[in-house]
């Protein structure tokens, strides 16, 4: 006789394809997932509490450690949030350089996503190709601020230094060859039969569910909602940039892959516009050495590679440290959608679903 009972297994927390220390409790009926419960918190460091005891200048260092593959986006959110809190106006050149670096970081983040997502599903070659380009970008970050991953790239009020000599030339070298690199990835994956079998129609999440669950970023845009904070609430120099919001309507893993590749093309366009139209001028606003706040509270959202990244600050009168700091991490909110995406689907699709959500546990657990 066959046994007919459900089995409960743990996926993670030590599992290479969960991209960190994510544990997913799965209840299986044969190979079908009947219930899925993500368990998080293995990487909790209490960044919000720590930042309440650091000054506005010191706190930015901690944002590198949230989403460690897109540290510059985190830095941008922190710096702009604090500037909004104090009403600091940043010089135009600094805004352009911020936009330039953030977009390069978006490319680096999407390249890492492409590499690991393809590796999870079984395509090894893309990993090597994508990391080749990512290394070049990380070298550029190292030239700018001395660090590859934990960048702390910006300062409150602008930038510490202007671009180093030769940066624009090196960035242009990357610009000239990157479109061909994208073509290489697409040639390996887009029409690949195995890739399409593993991704088309897998882990669907329609637009209503996305909005109800607060899911943002490429996952929302792959469901056909053209919502991008760079267009909806422009920050940095995005209001002056000419770019489009790529959307798809299929709302599956394959559509998200296409949306992210199209987004990389748009990032490439924005970087080119920044390099061509870089204005002259200072890169740092005039601000006091010690920032003393008034009573205020702000929520500043930016479009990080994973979705809406928001910083919520509450400041007290005369304080040099935030009274309360809260990070709205895109991965944290997006991961809530995982049960909705995979319940009733096969076990192998769980790996594809975790990959397509592009979660980073550093910012989920904070």
């Amino acid at each position: 006789m066959f046994k007919n009972e459900e089995m409960e297994i743990n996926l993670g927390p030590q599992h290479p394809s969960t991209h960190g220390v994510l544990r997913v409790k799965l209840r299986l009926d044969g190979e079908t997932v009947t219930k899925c419960t993500p368990v998080i918190g293995y990487l909790h460091r209490g960044v919000e509490k720590i930042c309440e005891n650091k000054t506005y200048f010191q706190g930015q260092v901690w944002t590198d450690r949230l989403d460690y593959v897109a540290a510059i986006s985190n830095n941008l959110g922190w710096a702009e949030g604090v500037e909004k809190l104090f009403g600091i106006e940043v010089p135009r050149r600094a805004k352009y350089i911020r936009t330039l670096l953030t977009e390069q970081n978006r490319l680096a983040s999407h390249l890492l996503w492409l590499a690991t997502h393809a590796l999870d599903i079984g395509a090894m070659t893309v990993f090597l190709y994508a990391f080749r380009e990512r290394e070049y970008l990380l070298d550029l970050f190292e030239a700018f601020c001395g660090a590859r991953l934990t960048t702390t790239a910006f300062r409150i009020g602008g930038l510490r230094e202007d671009l180093p000599p030769g940066f624009i030339k090196d960035a242009q070298v990357f610009q000239d060859r990157f479109l061909h690199c994208l073509y290489e990835y697409e040639e390996l994956l887009t029409e690949n039969r195995i890739w399409k079998k593993r991704t088309v129609g897998v882990a669907k999440l329609n637009a209503e569910d996305c909005i109800a669950l607060g899911v943002t970023g490429p996952v929302l845009r792959a469901a056909g909602v053209p919502y991008d904070i760079r267009k909806a609430f422009p920050n940095a120099a995005y209001a002056e940039m000419d770019f489009e919001i790529p959307t798809r309507t299929e709302a599956d893993t394959y559509a998200r892959y296409l949306v992210r590749l199209a987004e990389m093309r748009q990032s490439h366009r924005i970087i080119q516009q920044c390099l061509d139209g870089l204005p002259e001028g200072p890169v740092m606003a005039k601000i006091p050495k010690i920032l003393r706040s008034e009573v205020n509270e702000i929520y500043h959202p930016i479009e990080a590679p994973k979705g809406e990244l928001g910083y919520y600050f509450v400041s007290e009168k005369g304080g040099t440290m935030p009274y309360r700091m809260h990070v709205r991490a895109p991965s944290f909110v997006n991961l809530q959608a995982l049960p909705k995406m995979i319940e009733g689907r096969l076990l192998a699709d769980v790996i594809a679903a975790i990959g397509t959500l592009d979660v980073v546990l550093g910012e989920i657990d904070r």
Binding site: G41, I50, K84, A212, G214, A232, K286, I287, E308, V333
Partner: protein, 292 residues
């Protein structure tokens, strides 16, 4: 020729006082300094502060004028030169690129509409730093969220963020809970705020916005606010048996949950066993009792 100096024995360094393990209980950041003010942004409070400051400034100026009159009369009576008339102090000029965002009157149509729909359930509406804030009564939060989501002219479909702040210095409340709503179709943002005392169970927003599920669990985990009618009110980031709520102001940054491990302790007896093995290889029997 001078005699060579005799080498002097170096003074023995003093043994450090206290235990080898860092004493977390005595660490300076183990001591918690509770905040004395309530930094709750509010137009009403701001206006009251501005009025009080203006009144104080005016009173000071009137006193200066009166003093001057007295001094002038005194100088005239004594036949001396008249004293210098006082100069009213102007605020110091700031040449930084900073413009502090103060709270202003609500002008946005969304806020006015919300006040019209909710009536006296709205406690305060204002704008600050380009952000719209609507503070509602704590019992009416679910109704306010429902209006924001379903009203055709508001249509805030997404609950982007939910968070809370601890105010230990406040008298009639302990926490503020904020809801950051986003209208994906209209590209608008709104912040709803409620003030809740300790022990009050605010209604969970999960029935209207499913994204509130994990955010409310995080608030419970970090600040200890329980939500009524929440499907799964458990800790999310900390372990289930964690004591205390880390983001409350009375919680120290160092100390709680910290494990003091002295690695010199051979707690499992591992070092002892390794020493036995090593000694055995060298032909020494450590177990052999010494002859008396």
């Amino acid at each position: 020729m001078a005699e060579p100096l005799e080498p002097q024995a170096p003074e023995a360094p003093e043994a450090p006082a206290g235990p080898y393990v860092y004493d977390y209980l005595a660490a300076p950041n183990r001591q918690v300094v509770l905040p004395k003010t309530v930094p709750l942004p509010s137009l009403r409070t701001y206006q009251a502060e501005v009025a009080a400051a203006a009144a104080a400034d005016e009173a000071k100026w009137q006193k200066q004028l009166a003093d001057f009159e007295v001094a002038k009369a005194k100088a005239e009576a004594e036949g001396k030169d008249a004293p210098k008339p006082p100069v009213r102090a102007v605020p110091r000029k700031d040449d930084n690129d900073m413009k502090t965002p103060w709270p202003t009157e609500a002008k946005a149509a969304d806020l006015l509409k919300l006040q019209e729909l909710l009536g006296d359930k709205v406690e305060e509406i204002f704008e600050q730093a380009g952000e719209r804030v609507c503070q509602v009564k704590k019992e009416a939060i679910l109704e306010a969220l429902k209006v924001c989501r379903d009203e055709a002219s508001l249509k805030y479909e997404m609950l982007a963020d939910q968070s809370a702040t601890h105010y230990p210095a406040a008298k009639d409340f302990a926490f503020s809970i904020v809801y950051h709503l986003t209208s994906v179709s209209r590209h608008q943002r709104l912040r709803l705020r409620v003030l809740v005392p300790e022990g009050f169970l605010p209604d969970s927003a999960c029935s209207l916005y499913p994204s509130a599920n994990w955010m409310e669990r995080e608030i419970y985990d970090m600040l200890g606010i329980r939500f009524a009618n929440h499907p799964d009110m458990t800790r999310i980031l900390c372990p289930e048996d964690w004591e205390g709520y880390p983001l409350r102001k009375e919680y120290p940054t160092v100390g709680l949950g910290q494990r003091d491990i002295d690695f010199r302790d051979d707690r499992g007896g591992v070092l002892n066993r390794l020493a036995m093995v090593k000694a055995g290889q060298m032909g020494i029997n450590l177990k052999q009792p010494k002859a008396e």
